[in-house]
């Protein structure tokens, strides 16, 4: 039996996987099976079609177009795989997959997310069955403790301690919540997991519910992920129909039910107390801890909240033992971590690597380095609560403590790579704008502190920076860090702090010299006509709205720097590329 599996996660669908699937469906008469799978994590190669012969991968085809469907159908019908060799994945790209250790992403791109039987056929729900029927909740928690698994949402809190806390909390009614409010811009592993392997997450939750004694399971997913919501809802229904969830789950004495709720667009709801407020129908505003949710959470009852990726690791841990998981990684950070590579990186997508791998191996090894011709400048880690790390920090191992020591953080695992055309001051402002807009407004340090910091950065970017601004930013950062109520506020100025730490010269150049070394800040740009290249064709004159291009007798054209409004209009008009943006001052003629 020959099968074609078409990767249909959000990235694949946006790249045209739906059209490819439809085209193959038309030709299905030839006697092959067509399957839907999720995302392998190689977003840059989408749409991806895997061809199988008797369950063994025969060819992995990449960047497939609907026009390729007849050739693929022929190869499937005849078994002459060489006919589609032109579409086959390169060895270099195949090595990216081989270079990973996949635990959470194990089934992504291989299992059919719409079919529970496919998950079961791959050993799915075995771990849950074993836990629910052969282990006590305490034994499950002990196994998770032995694994050393820590929260993958960013903070890195030991998972077993949450579970143990919820188990020990008094009360009959307890809740277990899966936090799928993946808000960090640049992180998309939770989306991919929910879209590609929803049963693994549900199985992890089921084990967690048994361990904590929670009879109510809630999955909270961002509304911006419509496909993840629908695939998880479908998976939950299938699991209920199989008797895996519900009364006497998996034939045990344990009963539970599951609900899927969607967020409504608020970054702060990733914070667990804000998430609970949102579930209770209120504004998503955090509240002071303690009491911690494991003591008093949703509806005032003990509530255990874990991240999507955390749950996705649980079935493997129960199947292979906590010790096997703990054998991977560093002294303090165990297991693997999924990273989302994006920005100016050559091979964007998801990779899962053992803890302890260096940032360099991830970005340059698996990610292939910078996509553009420019040089690597920084990697942004940990989203708006994290920071930008320069080239010199790339040998830092992936480890909660080692990353925290750099001033950035593990975060949920977003890595946005930037080349040297990106201005770090502008980048810091980008994140501050984001947190200022997303600040819920409850506490003053965050609500006003982020706004003031954004204003200071804006004036620096506009060329109005004042002596003392850098110090003021430092003082403000410390004040917000000390005074803010929740994690969002306390970490809101991290992007500024890491900019001050690693890119201080660049910030000082903006303030003191009124220049932007990256050439990105428009107000600080200097437009310049290179005399050697100018042929006096006068084309640029027409493009300038303020007539600031003038002819100096006996010379070529020059730009009157005082009159120039930096509108960028002249550059595309010059046929000789003689007009450039200078990173330094105007050279002496």
């Amino acid at each position: 039996m020959r099968t074609a599996a078409v990767g249909q996660g959000s990235c694949g669908l946006a790249a045209g996987a739906g059209e490819v699937y439809a085209a193959l469906e038309q030709l299905q008469g030839g006697g092959f099976r067509l399957r839907t799978v999720g995302c392998l994590g190689m977003c840059y190669l989408e749409p991806i079609v895997d061809l199988y012969e008797d369950g063994v991968l025969a060819r992995r085809l990449v960047r497939v177009k609907p026009d390729d469907a007849p050739a693929i159908a022929n190869a499937l019908t005849s078994g002459r795989w060489e006919e589609v060799n032109r579409l086959a994945i390169s060895q270099e790209d195949e090595a990216v997959l081989a270079g990973q250790t996949r635990i959470a992403l194990r089934g992504c791109g291989l299992v059919d997310p719409t079919d529970i039987d496919d998950y079961i056929a791959r050993g799915g729900y075995e771990a849950a069955r074993h836990a629910l029927t052969a282990l006590t909740p305490e034994q499950v928690i002990a196994e998770v403790k032995a694994s050393g698994l820590a929260g993958r949402g960013g903070a890195g809190f030991p998972t077993w301690r949450k579970w143990d806390g919820a188990r020990a909390a008094s009360g009959d009614v307890k809740y277990l919540i899966c936090n799928g409010d993946e808000g960090d811009p640049g992180a998309f592993m939770d989306r991919a997991l929910l879209e590609s392997d929803p049963h693994r997450v549900i199985e992890g939750m089921l084990i967690g519910a048994y361990a904590t004694g929670a009879a109510e399971l809630i999955v909270y997913i961002r509304a911006e992920y419509p496909l993840a919501v629908s695939r998880l809802r479908q998976a939950a229904e299938q699991a209920q129909a199989q008797g895996f969830l519900g009364p006497h789950a998996m034939g045990s004495e344990f009963s539970c039910r599951i609900r899927v709720r969607t967020g409504a667009g608020a970054f702060v709801c990733g914070e667990e107390t804000a998430l609970i407020a949102s579930l209770e129908g209120r504004r998503g505003m955090p509240s002071l801890r303690p009491p911690y949710p494991v003591q008093q959470g949703y509806k005032g009852k003990p509530t255990c909240i874990n991240n999507v990726e955390t749950f996705a690791n649980i079935p493997w841990i129960l199947q292979n033992g906590g010790a096997a998981f703990a054998a991977i990684g560093t002294e303090h950070s165990k297991g693997t971590k999924v990273f989302a590579l994006a920005g100016q990186v050559r091979r964007g997508g998801l990779v899962e690597v053992p803890m302890g791998t260096s940032l360099r191996e991830v970005i340059f090894g698996l990610g292939g380095g910078v996509r553009t011709r420019a040089a690597f400048k920084a990697v942004q880690m940990g989203g708006p609560s994290g920071g930008c790390l320069p080239e010199s920090m790339l040998d830092t191992p992936i480890d909660y403590q080692a990353l925290a020591a750099t001033g950035a953080m593990m975060g949920s695992g977003g890595m946005v790579v930037m080349d040297d055309s990106t201005c770090m001051v502008e980048m810091a402002r980008f994140f501050l704008r984001f947190t200022a807009a997303e600040s819920c407004g409850k506490c003053v340090p965050c609500r006003i502190g982020t706004r003031r910091a954004e204003e200071i950065l804006t004036r620096i970017i506009d060329g109005q920076g004042r002596e003392g601004d850098v110090e003021l930013l430092e003082e403000l950062s410390a004040a917000v860090q000390d005074g803010a109520l929740c994690g969002l506020g306390r970490t809101a100025l991290n992007p500024v702090l890491t900019t001050l730490r690693y890119f201080r010269d660049e910030l000082v150049a903006h303030v003191r010299d009124k220049s932007c070394p990256a050439g990105q800040c428009v107000a600080l740009r200097t437009y310049y006509i290179i005399p050697k290249l100018c042929r006096n064709c006068r084309l640029c004159l027409k493009s300038c709205p303020v007539n600031c291009i003038i002819r100096v007798p006996g010379k070529t054209f020059i730009i009157d720097q005082d009159a120039c409004i930096k509108c960028d209009a002249c550059i595309p008009f010059c046929p000789f590329d003689a007009i450039v943006v200078l990173k330094e001052g105007v050279p002496d003629a």
Partner: protein, 166 residues
């Protein structure tokens, strides 16, 4: 996200009542109730909000408070095509700003605005999670990636042309 065919207010409120019963008129479900209401009307009309407040026993101020806290909720009608322009980190690094200007110029509306013909609403969103396709936008649930200013505008032109052909 399907095209919205908004019901009249009266028939809408009847359907709203049915839906409220599904949620036991419980204000704990307020976010979900507002999401369903917005699906029904395409936005949150003031009448619907006061109706929900009365039915759930939740103060109208709290219902309005929740409806303005979350970015998903809109209190004005939305165009036939809802353009969600991603302003996430990856899209920012890959140059979303010129695309935003091009879209705003073409449509003649700012962020959050709806064109006079009621065809397009332009909205900036935090991140749609398609970072490898950056810069990206989502129109009525479909994602368009690797945008350039020209390509982004051409997508809208195509949609508009489709509307104009009878």
């Amino acid at each position: 996200m399907s095209e919205c065919r908004a019901p009249t207010l009266e028939s809408g409120l009847t359907r709203l009542d049915e839906m409220l019963r599904e949620y036991d008129c419980d204000s704990d479900n307020l976010v979900a109730i507002l999401q369903r209401t917005q699906e029904l009307f395409g936005y949150l009309p003031e009448e619907a909000l006061t109706h929900i407040a009365a039915a759930t026993g939740c103060p109208a101020s709290a219902v309005f408070g929740v409806s303005t806290f979350y970015s998903q909720f809109r209190t004005t009608p939305v165009g036939k095509y809802l353009i969600l322009l991603c302003k996430g980190t990856a899209c920012y690094v890959s140059g979303v700003n010129p695309i935003e200007s091009a879209l705003q110029n073409y449509l003649g509306v700012p962020d959050g605005g709806t064109t006079e013909d009621g065809l397009f609403t332009l909205e900036n969103v935090a991140c749609i999670g398609c970072c490898c396709l950056a810069p990206a936008m989502m129109i009525n649930g479909r994602t368009y990636g690797h945008l350039t200013p020209n390509y982004a505008v051409s997508v809208l032109k195509e949609l508009r042309a489709r509307e104009e052909t009878p």
